[in-house]
């Protein structure tokens, strides 16, 4: 090498340096807002939620803006909210779970039939239903992580398989609410109501909120949570940097199945009976909640609390429009608009420079 140009000499000597610091000179409100959104992605659905509550509150007054009506929304979204928690986990790994609704209903049927057809003690029947959900999830997880099949295809298949199993096993029989009330009240546990002032809560609502808070803590503060994000972000990089990608995927799908089984339990409490034809909308509603909640369908980005807000937004629109006397189709109309708006906002936040 010719030594005539020793341009590297200047950096050969180490100088004492501090980490670079910059004045944040972006004073504009929009910029600050953009930055805040970038740091906390769950803010967007929260703002939309608060705004829609305020708008409907102004339009409808105390008919809507009362503890009773607002907690009614919570009760109406509890199933979708719990299922959306499961869906969020899967979508964070860049997957999708189309079988959540089927797992929910099969688990509830297993709980009911085990208790009534075989006379198994109710707590054991509930545990069997939960195990059934986890097992269905494990099947999805196995096919996705070991067989390397695309999650969309796997869960499209298991959706049909689990739903068919549900009808075949239950022989399309409904277990009536009265019978459950008499001999297996534990199945109604998630529907048990309690009042605080005018507000009415159910155990299922509390379960949904606690579940969301626990999951968001776990995703933020444990290694497993960080691995879920890493796997969704770039599975190859995660593998090379020492993450057990297969194990993480398997655990996510299993947990998703287990959470769906809890949703199945809550479903019995909500509708009173055990019916093999319920919860058929849970798939699309949970995906809607997740998307409105700002979780990226490409994986690795978003916050699970967003899904809770997303589910609540749908609930607020449904109840608010019904109280306004609007045609139910308007609900779907606005939810469609919200989905597209949510993704558009997501793209805007992504832009590092706005």
């Amino acid at each position: 090498m010719s030594q005539s140009d020793s341009y590297e000499d200047i950096v050969k000597a180490r100088r004492e340096e501090k980490f670079a610091e910059f004045e944040d000179e972006r004073k504009g409100l929009l910029h600050k807002f953009h930055h805040a959104l970038h740091v906390t992605p769950a803010l967007v659905p929260l703002i939309v939620l608060v705004a829609s509550i305020v708008i409907f509150g102004v339009l409808l007054g105390s008919r809507f803006f009362s503890p009773f009506a607002l907690t009614l929304i919570l009760q109406q979204v509890q199933i979708v909210g719990i299922v959306a928690a499961a869906q969020s986990l899967v979508i964070l790994t860049a997957g999708i779970d189309l079988s959540v609704g089927a797992i929910t209903v099969l688990s509830s049927v297993v709980m009911g039939q085990f208790a009534f057809r075989y006379g198994i003690p109710v707590p054991v029947a509930v545990a069997c239903g939960l195990a059934c959900g986890a097992l269905c999830g494990a099947l999805n997880g196995f096919l996705v992580s070991r067989m390397k099949l695309p999650p969309f295809i796997v869960t499209l298949g298991t959706w049909q398989i689990i739903l068919a199993t549900n009808y075949l096993y239950s022989a399309n029989e409904t277990i009536r609410a009265q019978e459950i009330e008499e001999s297996a009240p534990l199945l109604h546990l998630m529907g048990a109501k309690f009042q605080i002032g005018g507000a009415v809560f159910t155990v299922g609502v509390v379960f949904m909120i606690v579940l969301m808070l626990v999951l968001s803590w776990v995703l933020r503060y444990t290694a497993w949570g960080r691995h879920v994000y890493a796997v969704g972000d770039d599975p190859e990089a995660a593998q090379l940097s020492g993450v057990n990608v297969k194990g993480t995927l398997l655990s996510v799908y299993m947990l998703s199945g287990l959470i769906c089984a809890f949703a199945g339990w809550a479903l019995i409490g909500r509708i009173g009976s055990v019916s093999p034809t319920s919860a058929y909308e849970a798939n699309i509603e949970s995906i809607t909640a997740v998307v409105i909640g700002g979780i990226s369908l490409f994986g690795g980005r978003g916050s699970i609390l967003g899904s809770l807000f997303g589910a609540l937004i749908v609930g607020v629109f449904t109840l608010g429009l019904r109280l306004l006397g609007a045609d139910a189709q308007w609900t779907y109309f606005f939810i469609g608009v919200l989905i597209i708006a949510a993704v558009a906002v997501d793209q805007w936040i992504r832009k590092v420079s706005a």
């Binding site: 590297e8 980490f19 503060y221 960080r226 691995h227 890493a230 940097s241």
Partner: protein, 256 residues
């Protein structure tokens, strides 16, 4: 002297393509061994076979005199071999700290860590900050910023800092200076000397001949899936090395 890391007769085929053709490899304690070769010569496959990212179809790998079988990068990392891949293997949406500790997170002491498995973010951040400043990566503003907001060179710096921080027996660097600025390249070369002076041997894959000749003790020339020769940078010039690796010149005696 016994080699610390040693491979014999490694074979790896990708369908009809033979990436490693009965390749031998030796790394001695405390040395910097450069691996050079043309594009497609099989350097990356050789490195992946040593770091567990690829399981060879044939041949043996020995670490400190014991036969090892790496089935995943985690196996190699647990054995003390740390690798910086060309692709860097980082999760863009996660923070610098998250990436440095990916797969070996620190948990909080006491009940929160043991029973609730809470991570010790504070300790990990302090450690990450210290390692980055050791490497002179002072242009990073926030240790919690997502890796995707860093420039290419900064990302590479973080990946090198990660390997240097955790490698205990062997550190493998695949093109560590390719995307770095002058100052950062210099720091990486300094770091290589630092690590060597700590007695940890380094495998360096690079196309940058001045860098190779500056830090390497021996140079492994890779050609057509196997080791062509091993040369001493003091006995040969950069043009000789380039001539060997491109096939323009045959090494006169096959040095082992």
């Amino acid at each position: 002297m016994e080699p610390i890391l040693n491979a014999k007769n490694l074979v790896k085929r990708y369908g009809k393509v033979i990436a490693l053709d009965h390749c031998d490899f030796e790394l001695y304690p405390g040395e910097v061994l450069a691996v050079i070769g043309d594009n497609g010569a099989g350097k990356s496959t050789l490195i992946k076979a040593l770091s567990g990212a690829v399981v060879p179809d044939g041949g043996e790998v020995w670490l400190e005199g014991a036969r090892v079988h790496f089935h995943s990068p985690t196996d190699a990392r647990e054995a003390g071999i740390e690798t910086v891949y060309q692709t860097l293997a980082m999760s863009p949406a996660l923070s610098i700290t998250d990436n440095m500790f990916m797969g070996r997170e620190l948990r909080k002491p006491g009940i929160m860590g043991k029973w609730f498995r809470q991570l010790d973010h504070k300790a990990m951040e302090d450690f990450a900050r210290k390692k980055l400043s050791d490497l002179g990566l002072m242009t990073i503003q926030n240790i919690n910023q997502a890796v995707e907001t860093l420039s290419g060179g900064q990302r590479q710096g973080v990946a090198v800092a990660r390997a240097a921080a955790f490698g205990s027996k062997v550190i493998i660097l695949d093109e560590p200076t390719a995307a770095l600025g002058v100052k950062e390249s210099r720091r990486v070369l300094d770091l290589i000397q630092d690590v060597r002076s700590r007695g940890i041997p380094i495998i360096l894959i690079s196309h940058n001949m001045p860098h190779v000749f500056e830090v390497a003790d021996r140079i492994h020339v890779h050609r057509l899936g196997r080791r062509l020769c091993v040369i001493d940078p003091k006995d040969y010039t950069m043009s000789d090395a380039v001539a060997f690796m491109t096939g323009a010149k045959e090494p006169e005696a096959v040095a082992a």
